[in-house]
Symmetry: C2
Subunit: 219 residues, 2 copies
DNA sequence: GAAAAACTGTCGGCCAGCCGACGGACCTCG
DNA sequence: CGAGGTCCGTCGGCTGGCCGACAGTTTTTC
């Protein structure tokens, strides 16, 4: 087995991974559309994304629910009953969980990293449960947009936020547990109301972040 | 600080906890109804239940969603945004997560235990997400009952299953993300149809486990 | 043992939003 | 640059189930 090395031009988020953490991992290139994991898989693996994007999702009969999009620097473990698909060509570093358990035993510095990874996955899962159980789709969408604005957005003059978001309407609907018709309808209504504006599929301008916050927090 | 010891008559599931795992934990007795944790809590703790029962739940405006009922032997960590309430008088063993992190660093044998705990919580959370997103209440209830029958039930003669279940209708509804009216209506319909029978609030007799399995798996 | 509290069963109005369908717009590929 | 593929916008029928209300039953407390 040939041991690959991270390329020097790797994504900064991936380069922040402590080098010793990658010891024992093996690089794999996944073509776009590749279904990397399914719920019935018996092999559990730990994976770290170097480049590209993976979508983790659950499948219903007529639609899918995306739990997350994994990006460079993200760590994930596939023991949950989910599908994992490469949205674009993606390079990941993999280790079977059995081998990873040995790594944990021999290198205690890895433990806090993994506890944080699992903890974050758990918090995200609980937040999604809360959304699905208690919030209607408009509130979910508003919360999603305000959360992304706070994480990825850039404030411009006059209280306007620029939000680069490489997600289509169907992607957003999938993350919220809704349908593209419902999300499309809401986005267009909010555009007509002057709350936001869509520019192509990659950029939102948010004119009324406060209004979105209010929409995300029903009284 | 007085160090308590587990009583000799403790629940077998609790007594299966490795003794060294309890090192550093402190016993607390929580009265019935005690709200032990809320989403805003800044203190994150690891807890192990010796006796009693805790309910972990999310709160909406008009109802609650119970994520789980914790019982003797269960380990939980409160860093997710949930409420934790003592359903009956409950004795738990507690440690702050900061101290627990030091324990993990100094005693690597604890790591696999905690990885399994977090992993199980994650799998349960993902299963609930799948239910909420894709399954209607009858399917959720059927899956709940068949799952509990397989875990806690006892087969009797003639294909009948005895399922001791110390949960009221409202408890079951809360676990499924539904309302007591909906669950009550379904249980009574299934009783009229001869699929099951409720005996008091603590015991189900399941006459048609196959039918329940089918109801839990929509085509 | 009675009163109070808690839980359950039932009913029906109401509505959020899913989903199939269709046409248009945009993007990709050859 | 055109064809094909993919995505988006809109529409409206339909339905699952929430929830307020009320009465009855069971359990708990004193």
């Amino acid at each position: 087995m040939e041991l690959d090395l991270p390329s020097a031009s790797a994504d900064p988020a991936f380069r922040r991974i402590p080098p010793h953490l990658l010891d024992g991992f093996v690089a794999h290139d996944l073509p776009r559309g590749c279904l990397f994991a399914t719920p019935g898989d018996l092999r559990n693996q730990v994976l770290i994304i170097e480049s590209g994007r993976l979508r983790v999702y659950l499948a219903g009969e007529n639609r899918e629910l995306s739990l997350s999009f994994l990006e460079p620097g993200d760590i994930y473990t596939t023991h949950t009953p989910t599908y994992v698909e490469a949205v674009v060509t993606t390079r990941v570093w993999l280790m079977e969980t059995v081998a990873f358990a040995r790594k944990l035993a021999s290198d205690p510095s890895v433990t806090p990293v993994m506890m944080r990874v699992l903890g974050r996955l758990l918090v995200n899962a609980v937040n999604l449960i809360e959304d699905l159980a208690f919030r209607e789709v408009p509130a979910r969408l508003a919360r999603f947009l305000t959360g992304m604005a706070e994480r990825r957005g850039r404030p411009l003059d006059g209280g306007i936020w620029l939000l680069p978001l490489d997600l289509g309407t169907e992607d957003i609907a999938s993350l919220l547990g809704s349908t593209r018709q419902t999300v499309s309808s809401l986005l267009n209504q909010w555009e007509r109301e002057g709350i936001l504006q869509r520019q192509g599929r990659r950029v939102f301008y948010i004119y009324q972040l406060d209004t979105l916050r209010r929409l995300g927090t029903p009284i």
